[in-house]
């Protein structure tokens, strides 16, 4: 998961969605104007209005890309983080939550700084959990 690739994929999906909706709205307005036997001027105004309205609505419903929120950023890791935290907590639910929070913070910081997590996510998260435990011991 490289951050800029995820952002690129998100922006591309949103652009395709918006342009698709906009072009469909323009085509629809064109057909309606033609069926209603409106003049060329009226049809042009209706098409521009349909394009502006549909693009505005579609873009308004578009959220921010994944890199702008930690929750979105770490959603694919959530299950692995919980598993690793439970492994380290040894059955203690409160400790598991604490470890999960600390591992999440470390993972978010590393991904934001451009780290590219390896395919074996759990090994990477276990290494982060080791860091958490190490920092806990040194305090």
């Amino acid at each position: 998961m490289t951050l800029w690739v995820e952002d690129l994929k998100y922006h591309l999906a949103m652009a395709l969605r918006t342009v698709g909706i906009g072009l469909a709205a323009v085509a629809w307005a064109s057909v309606l104007g033609s069926e209603a036997q409106q003049s060329a001027d009226v049809r042009a105004y209706v098409q521009v209005g349909a394009a502006v309205l549909s693009v505005c609505v579609a873009q308004w419903l578009t959220a921010l890309p994944p890199s702008t929120s930690v929750a979105q950023l770490l959603r694919p890791f959530a299950r692995d983080i919980l598993t690793v935290a439970r492994e380290r907590a040894g059955g203690d639910a409160e400790r598991a939550q604490l470890v999960a929070g600390q591992v999440t913070a470390l993972a978010a910081a590393r991904i934001r700084r451009g780290a590219n997590p390896p395919r074996d996510r759990r090994a990477w998260l276990r290494a982060l959990a080791d860091l958490v435990e190490l920092s806990g011991r040194t305090r």
């Binding site: 800029w4 690129l8 652009a15 395709l16 323009v26 921010l64 890309p65 702008t68």
Partner: protein
């Protein structure tokens, strides 16, 4: 911030290319059909003008307008939402 704005611009340029490419594919299919049917009038018309010239000016303008408007709004809303998020935090 600049990376996102650049990405939005590049992505919309790509989308414009995709839409025009799909139209080109459609035009090629229609042209092949006319050649198979040996429609001499259409084939000579195709030989005189490129596909982009044959496409109606208002269709080209509508596509370019929608893509440009989408890029502009996506950039503006991104900048606005990021600014609001920073103020809130």
């Amino acid at each position: 911030m600049a990376r996102h704005l650049l990405t939005i611009g590049l992505v919309h340029a790509g989308v414009l290319g995709i839409v025009y490419f799909l139209l080109l594919v459609g035009d090629a299919l229609f042209t092949s059909y006319a050649i198979v049917l040996q429609d001499a009038v259409f084939v000579s018309y195709v030989a005189q003008l490129g596909w982009l010239q044959r496409m109606a000016a208002d269709v080209k303008a509508a596509i370019a307008f929608v893509v440009a408007l989408s890029a502009l709004l996506q950039m503006l809303l991104f900048v606005w939402r990021v600014a609001i998020g920073r103020e809130a935090s």
